[in-house]
Amino acid sequence: MEFELDEEQRMLRRTVRETVAKVRPQPEDRQWETYRSLGWLEAPPLELALILEELGYAADPTPFLATATWFAPLTGRLPEGSGTAVFDGVGRYVLEADRADEVALLTKGGVTVVPGADLGAQRVGILDPHVHVAHVDAQALSAGVPDLALTGLAATAVGACRRVLDLVLAHVKQRTQFGQVLGSFQAVKHKAADMHVAVERARALTHFSALTIAEDDPRRTKAAHMAKAAAGECQRLVFRHGLQLFGAMGFTWENELQLHLKRAQACDLLLGTASAHRKALLTA
């Protein structure tokens, strides 16, 4: 096995990083148009995971995640506009269902695509202000979540966790107390190190998941559960240590830390938490 990004993939990651940083301050529909026009929605799984990690890093407000990893794998195509899907037969907390142009419904008889406007979905307020979720009245739906949908949430969570870690590192390198930078205290260092290890572990399993999807390897479903569970575990640790290390400053609306903590947590709670996916791994 070769488990290193090749030159092209590293270049893609650099390009994505730069583009997202440039585009993120623009209005939301402009961001979405840019990503669509760049063809990122059509990226193969591994490249898609790299893109989603960067979008997660930037608290992306667009319907990219649901369009690329919920709608597309069910229908085998991209929607007119944005898309999402209902997998779990309950239709609660469906990403982007309030504004997606097309919604794929996974039923026992196959996949049905309906215009989003027909669903009468109601957006539900949640902790992350940029994540759109809605309840859908969907009946007679069977269970089954595509691997890519799990991988997509995992990659997004990894990106958000990386962002939290970066913000925390910047904070503890400049803030001084007792005449010392916070980052020189071992209690701080050890928490930061544990956050790093958790991010590396979740990211490796996310890349592996994307790779098994790309190669249609028989381990792909197990790998998707591992990625989602690891991202959830990572989120739990990074949230706890990240908010703690930031101190009172992280507890405010003005500080952007809250945005990324919420994105990471939302990715864990959607489509099953770490615990649910650990259990699912054992029977997959």
């Binding site: 096995m1 070769e2 488990f3 290193e4 990004l5 090749d6 993939q9 591994l46 590192l169 503890v172 390198k173 930078v181 980052g183 020189s184 071992q186 701080v188 260092k189 050890h190 930061a192 190190a193 544990d194 790093h196 290890v197 590396e200 572990r201 490796a204 399993l205 890349h207 592996f208 790779l211 098994t212 190669e215 390897d217 790998a223 591992m226 569970a229 690891a230 575990e233 615990s275 650990r278 259990k279 791994l281 054992l282």
Partner: protein, 385 residues
């Protein structure tokens, strides 16, 4: 990125596999068991020599040192194949992986011939004299003193935790040769034969059993060592020490992967349907993935700390879960918790308690978990020292 191995790695693995099928000692031959990390039964010495002569002992080395110039991915395949079959290639792992390997990097031609090759051919065994009663994590503060007079060092001091010293023929010993220099700059590496006058070794029991003798105290009193036994330049011992621990460190994670794999097998019944068992599977997969990433050109020495921390703590956590899952049955000691294999001397008579207790070797030896976290924070995340 791709899932499959390169063809030259597959080919290499197949060759080694065929060699093992043909040459592995039988169960009858391999009856005598090793009782310390430097005690090598005669059959195991013959086995190591066979590997040496066929270039399968340290495949990354040239043929004269028991190898075949293998690439790093091929070396990984070699160790994976040994682990998969539960085979040891040497019953003196530190002699092979640290001492002989250090001599091949830092030693003179004469030292390679006189010491490295006999260790590789299992004619002699070696142990590593690093830690001292007052120098553990802070290894560079070691105080064992060596004074050079003419062509002879006189060594006085004490080592501890010296694994296998009582069964070893030679110790690679780190000593202070310049007490006036900053602590990292006054250390040298010396080969000290255990038969030398003034060397006293006292093995002591481990947490597992009073007669489980691998640890030693080594007392050195006016031991005379010829200058030709100095490894590397005088006062450059810290570089040798880092190199010593650096040897095979790139693949050190594999020993944790092997233990995790053993736990996957041995704790399968107890772990059925348990979330901790899923965590174990995830830790093993993540460790392998991150380890493979270290094979590429972008590897970073500090990343080895990530692998050690992740691997050793995963082993410990899963061992505790397995212990608890067995309830009061886990008290039985000794107990058979793994399958018997004549080429693998661990676990099969270790109780779950012993396996959990031994997992602390991973989080304490070779740089504690606390030291690894400091390295990650300082060298990867850029926090101040």
């Amino acid at each position: 990125m791709k899932l499959a191995d390169d063809p030259e790695v597959e080919e290499f693995r197949a060759q080694f596999s065929a060699f093992l099928d043909a040459r592995l000692p039988t169960e009858a031959e391999a009856r005598e068991r090793s009782h310390s990390s430097a005690h090598v039964p005669d059959w195991a010495r013959r086995w190591q020599r066979t590997l040496f002569e066929h270039g399968w002992l340290l495949p990354g080395q040239p043929p004269e040192y028991g190898g075949r110039g293998a690439t790093l991915p091929q070396q990984l395949a070699h160790l994976e194949e040994l682990a998969r079959r539960r085979i040891y290639h040497s019953f003196n792992p530190q002699g092979l992986g640290i001492i002989a390997a250090s001599l091949l990097t830092f030693g003179t031609e004469e030292q390679k011939t006189r010491w490295a090759v006999p260790i590789l051919r299992a004619e002699i065994t070696a142990a590593l004299g690093m830690s001292e009663p007052e120098a553990g994590s802070d290894l560079a503060s070691l105080r064992t003193r060596a004074v050079l007079d003419g062509d002879t060092f006189t060594v006085n001091g004490q080592k501890i935790w010296t694994s296998g010293a009582h069964d070893a023929d030679v110790l690679l010993t780190f000593v202070r040769t310049d007490p006036g220099a900053p602590k990292h700059k006054g250390i040298s590496a010396l080969l000290i034969p255990t038969a030398a006058e003034g060397v006293v070794r006292r093995p002591f029991g481990s947490i597992a059993a009073e007669d489980d003798h691998d640890f030693n105290e080594v007392f050195l009193t006016d031991v005379r060592v010829p200058r030709e036994n100095l490894v590397g330049p005088l006062n450059a011992g810290w570089r040798v020490a880092n190199g010593s621990l650096g040897h095979e460190r790139t693949l050190l994670w594999l020993s944790y992967a092997e233990r995790l794999q053993d736990l996957v097998r041995d704790a399968g019944d107890a772990g059925a349907g348990q979330e901790w068992y899923a965590t174990l599977l995830m830790d093993l997969t993540a460790l392998r993935l991150l380890g493979h990433r270290q094979l590429g050109p972008n590897r970073n020495a500090a990343e080895i700390s990530v692998l050690k921390l992740l691997g050793s703590e995963a082993v410990q956590s899963a061992s505790l879960h397995a212990l608890e899952a067995h309830g009061a049955d886990a008290l039985a000691h000794p107990a058979r918790t793994g399958p018997y294999h004549h080429m693998h001397h661990e676990d099969f008579v270790s109780s779950w308690f012993e396996r959990y207790a031994r997992s602390f070797a991973g989080t304490i030896a070779g740089g504690t978990s606390e030291i690894q976290r400091n390295i990650i924070a300082e060298r990867i995340l850029g926090l101040p020292r």
